[in-house]
């Protein structure tokens, strides 16, 4: 089923329908997009427009209702949760608005976590290096609640890059930060992305952040369009 990873993300007519008390609700209309390796893509849109849902599908955190998603060649739509977890472990990094660090592990241990899960060699050494890259080498032994929001997000960034993922998903990475911390985190994110040639999918409200990306997609009531006005499913399913 694997396809050659010409595109690092390739979706065909992906929809998401959920059951609610008032009947079925279609959150995403059929979406077909292709993302090239190393591309940075921003998905913008109002709250409730479906951008986080799309992110969850692209990252393999949730199941599609219909359609196909290939993530670096792996057919997420036909994998079960275990299969998707494996794909996430091998190919994906995450950064969240609420940082999502494990509160009972130190900063260093949080960074080590994905490397350990993926079974990489020398996770501690890698984590120390990553910690240094985000400028927090002196804070490795601190617990998340002993760090400021900006520091926590830098730890999260270090954690996201430690496995050198093919694709990085970031959900409002600066949403919880003040302006100065936002700038630092943004810079770090794009610098590391460039260095490691990672594909970045970024969900944000922030137009200035979105503008730093190669492509901008607009989500509106479950319909995805390129920000230049073109509807996103530009290509027919092949």
């Amino acid at each position: 089923m694997s396809q050659s990873p010409e595109y690092v993300i390739k979706t065909r007519d992906v929809t998401k329908v959920v059951d609610t008390t008032e009947g079925e609700l279609q959150i995403l209309q059929p979406i077909s997009i292709d993302v090239n390796p190393g591309e940075t893509v921003a998905i913008v849109g109002a709250s409730g427009s479906g951008k986080s849902t799309l992110l969850s599908l692209l990252a393999g955190l949730d199941e599609v209702s219909s359609g196909e998603i290939f993530l670096d060649g792996a057919p997420l739509h036909s994998l079960d949760e275990e299969g998707r977890a494996q794909v996430r472990g091998e190919k994906v990094g995450f950064i969240f608005q609420s940082f999502m660090l494990v509160q009972s592990l130190t900063a260093l241990e949080n960074i080590m976590l994905p490397a350990e899960i993926a079974g990489l060699e020398a996770p501690r050494e890698r984590a120390l290096e990553a910690l240094q890259q985000v400028g927090l080498e002196h804070r490795g032994g601190h617990y998340p609640n002993q760090l400021s929001g900006g520091e926590q997000q830098r730890v999260a960034i270090a954690r996201a890059f430690i496995t050198q993922p093919r694709i990085l998903f970031a959900d409002e990475p600066t949403g919880n930060l003040d302006a100065s911390n936002s700038d630092k985190v943004e810079k770090l994110l794009f610098d590391l992305n460039r260095e490691s040639d990672t594909t970045l999918i970024l969900v944000t409200h922030d137009p200035s952040l979105a503008q730093k990306c190669d492509r901008q997609l607009q989500m509106q009531a479950g319909v995805l369009t390129e920000i230049n006005g073109q509807k996103a499913p530009q290509r027919e399913a092949s």
Binding site: A85, E90, F94, F96, V102, E109, P114, I117, G119, N145
Partner: protein, 839 residues
């Protein structure tokens, strides 16, 4: 990968332990182990100490009674197994002193007798006895006080037993295995075992009991009995242990043991409840880490390994700390009561430790099962959708696991399926009731909670929301309160019954053989001496010869007096018959009717004691034949009576309808109480009535009272332990729920709600929950107690109205206070700390 799971589990465990995040679940496991260990260790120690003490009443740990001497090899075998043995021969025989003769109970012990308890002697009749290590020397006889009175003997006189003469050298005041019967039978005479054969009284045709006494390690004794059992003949041999003791004492101790067992079982349930609450909270707190791990690519198997390992580590630490704490607690209790309970409590028992560890493990495993299943089911999507909970909602797994854990533990521990089922089923009824109430509350709350937001509305709003989500909490409060009530009420009822059994002024002397003619003089004399006499019972000695014309086989049984003395296993040929128009105190008709309800023309009736009837297979309507002197009396069984033998009152196997005995001249028996300080007056009191036989049961009653006091005290301590454990569980529960409230409090605080409003709302909420839990607990308590009292403790069931009011009030008070205290602690934190804790 596996090593990685272990590393991660260990790391999480280490950090969480250090940061105090495991405190509650660790504490719950610790509590379960400590409570079960301390309670069962203490009760086991106390039981074995009490059993050792009661063993004195059969003069050994085990006794083998035989109608013929047993094979020497049996005794050699016992000694080879490290068991101590002693031997005594009983028989009834006529003894002579000058012209006087008297039927006596002759005892001839060997030098090892008694293995437990003491023989007491006095220098003069009716003087208080002192303990002696020695036994009568060759050709010496020690005789009971009343034999001096009956035969006009003095110390130094000669008593003829069979063909031999013995010099009376001491007054025999007490032997350990005299039994508790008031009809002590014939006066006792003790002579050396070595002199017995020469007297010729145990020749062919004599009724002789050969008693063999054994003491030693309980396991050795049991093993020995297993070895011996195939060789025993039911017609000839009887094996007895203290546990079989059916005397008031044996029953008191037996009941106390049941109570300890109950208390320990309840401690197990308490522990289980606290672990259930803690495990649920533990699981909820780990939803995020699991979602994160899964998002980062961890497989389900890996998450399972990490958390199972972590639970294992927590359990192991809990077991270790709990074992230590439990040991210290019971050691502390033993130290505290060392002065008031004069028994050796230092024996070490392994069983309580195994039971406690087993309890901890089973609770931790089975109660964590459902919360862990929920935890494993957490979707990685939670990282984006923060409100996403567990996707598993198979509550029946939770109920099944919790239910079977509790039942398995109770059964394994008590080895008493009935007791376990009673407690378990009451628990189920309680839970069902609570679920109903929960639904009721939601309905009520919808109405009450409307209107402008105040403390009352906030409280109802929370109850409404949480009643469904968190019915576990209400149930756990109720179960805790119920268990505490059960232990408290059982203890009150039991101690009250013990005290009632031996109230102050219980008769300590009994007189028999009072003739009709003496009656008025005796009454006057005693009144003049300021001693009040109880009821006079007419007594006629008779032989019980036939049931429905069929001869009663008595030859396989021991002589009646010895039987009666021990109050069990069959009657002899001799029976004391009495008659009365009224039913005696603490007697209850179980079958048939009392005379007054029978037709006037019905044949003369007899009321038979229930256990005697069962033993001899006597049924309503059977005709019993008695020989009174040369006369034959036929009576029809018209009722079967249950008799409370635990009252120190005269009681009879056969009570006849007065008309049946109209032609016989009875003697009378009665009883009186004489305070200890007036004891020296007894000789003066009895002097005019030389023929009247006096039984002094003062020593017996004091022994009994001592034991009952000690057992009561032990029960009190157990109660205190259980109450302490219960309170800790309540605190843990409130604390756990407080954490869940944190978020709401933080939001209310942020929105500017005043401390008073928040405190008020939490207080009202906990007051309502506490009151409901208390009421439910009172209801369930009533059911449980009724079942326990009637099915296990053999007591009359009783209703405890006062607790229907007390329990809700105390429940509301305690839970409300704890809630307010927990809330107050949260309100001292500033809002940003609260908000940060939420993340």
């Amino acid at each position: 990968m596996n090593r990685m799971s272990a590393n991660l589990a260990w790391r999480l465990f280490r950090h969480e332990a250090k940061r105090g995040e495991l405190t509650i679940i660790l504490f719950a496991i610790m509590l379960s182990v400590a409570a079960v260990f301390s309670l069962s260790m203490f009760s086991e120690r106390l039981q074995s100490a009490l059993t050792a003490q009661t063993a004195a009443f059969i003069a050994a740990d085990r006794v083998l009674d035989a109608r013929h001497p047993v094979d020497d090899a049996w005794l050699r075998e016992a000694r080879q197994r490290g068991i101590n043995t002693a031997h005594q021969v009983y028989t009834r025989s006529m003894v002579f002193a000058g012209d006087n003769m008297q039927l006596v109970s002759l005892r001839a012990p060997d030098n090892a007798y008694p293995l437990k308890g003491q023989v007491k002697v006095a220098a003069q009749p009716f003087e208080p006895g002192v303990t002696t290590e020695a036994l009568p020397g060759p050709k010496e006889a020690w005789i009971e006080s009343r034999l001096f009175q009956l035969m006009g003997l003095s110390i130094g006189d000669v008593l003829e037993v069979g063909t031999q003469s013995f010099q009376v050298t001491k007054v025999l005041s007490e032997v350990p295995d005299a039994g508790f019967s008031l009809f002590g039978g014939d006066p006792k005479v003790m002579i050396p075992r070595a002199d017995l054969e020469a007297t010729g009284v145990i020749g062919p045709g004599a009724r002789v009991t050969y008693s063999y006494y054994f003491t030693g390690d309980s396991d050795d004794l049991d093993a020995y009995y297993e070895w011996l059992r195939p060789k025993l003949d039911r017609e000839i041999h009887r094996w007895m242990s203290v546990e079989d003791d059916d005397s008031p004492l044996g029953r008191s101790v037996g009941r106390a043991e049941q109570y300890f067992l109950l208390a320990s079982l309840l401690a197990i349930v308490l522990a289980a409840v606290s672990i259930a609450v803690a495990a649920q909270r533990y699981s909820q707190r780990h939803y995020d880490p699991v979602a994160i791990m899964k998002t980062l690519g961890a497989s389900r198997g890996m998450v399972q390994r990490v958390y199972l390992l972590q639970i294992t580590l927590i359990t192991a630490l809990g077991l270790l700390l709990g074992g230590l704490a439990g040991y210290l607690i019971q050691q502390g209790v033993i130290w505290a009561i060392a002065d008031s309970v004069p028994v050796d409590l230092s024996a070490w028992h392994w069983r309580p430790l195994w039971i406690a560890l087993f309890t901890g493990v089973i609770c931790a495993v089975l109660f964590s099962l459902y919360p862990l299943l929920k935890l494993f089911s957490i979707s990685p999507l939670r990282v984006l959708r923060r409100d996403m909970g567990a996707t598993v909602s198979a509550r029946f797994i939770q109920f099944l696991a919790a239910g079977s854990a509790i039942l398995i533990l109770m059964w394994a521990y008590s080895q008493n399926l009935r007791l376990s089922l009673i407690l378990f089923l009451s628990g189920i009824v309680l839970v069902a009731l609570l679920l109903l109430v929960t639904f009721g509350l939601i309905a009520v709350g919808r109405r009450l909670g409307q209107g402008k937001i105040g403390a009352w509305q906030l409280a109802w709003a929370r109850i409404k929301r949480r009643a469904m989500d968190n019915s576990v909490q209400l149930i756990s409060f109720s179960v805790t309160i119920m268990l505490l009530l059960v232990v408290l009420v059982m203890r009150n009822d039991m101690i009250q019954q013990w005290r009632d059994q031996l109230p102050q002024g219980t008769p300590n002397y009994f007189m028999i053989n009072i003739t009709d003619a003496q009656l008025p003089t005796l009454e006057q004399h005693f009144a003049a001496q300021n001693v009040s006499l109880d009821t006079f019972y007419p007594v006629v000695r008779a032989r019980f010869v036939a049931i429905n014309g069929e001869q009663v086989r008595t030859d396989v049984r021991k002589e009646g007096e010895e039987e009666n003395q021990r109050g069990r296993d069959g009657l002899g040929r001799e029976a004391n018959l009495t008659w009365s128009d009224t039913l005696q105190y603490e007697n209850r008709i179980t079958q048939g009717v009392w005379w007054s309800e029978r037709p006037d023309d019905a044949p003369s009736g007899v009321s038979v004691e229930a256990r005697a009837a069962e033993r001899m297979d006597i049924k309503l309507g059977d005709v019993l034949t008695f020989n009174v002197g040369s006369e034959v009396v036929d009576v029809t069984v018209s009722s079967i009576r249950e008799v409370n033998w635990q009252t120190m009152q005269p009681n009879f196997f056969f009570v006849l309808e007065p008309q049946a005995m109209a032609d016989f001249l009875p003697t009378y028996m009665t009883s009186f109480h004489l305070p200890s300080d007036r004891k020296p007056q007894i000789t003066e009191l009895m002097r005019p009535f030389g023929n009247v036989t006096l039984f002094d049961v003062d020593a017996r009653i004091n022994q009994l009272r001592n034991i009952v006091d000690q057992v009561s005290m032990a029960v009190e301590f157990i109660l205190v332990l259980v109450l302490a454990a219960g309170s800790l569980v309540l605190i843990a529960q409130v604390q756990a729920s407080m954490d869940e409230r944190q978020q709401e409090l933080a939001i209310l605080r942020t929105l500017g709600a005043k401390g008073g409003l928040i405190r008020g709302s939490v207080l009202v909420e906990f007051l309502i929950i506490g009151a409901v839990a208390g009421l439910m607990a009172a209801l369930a308590n009533e059911l449980t107690l009724y079942l326990l009292q009637t099915q296990i403790f053999q007591m009359a069931g009783s209703v405890h109205w006062q607790y229907w009011l007390v329990a809700p009030l105390v429940g509301a008070g305690v839970v409300g206070l704890l809630g307010a205290a927990g809330c107050w602690r949260l309100l001292t934190l500033n809002t940003s700390t609260l908000l940060r804790k939420m993340v």
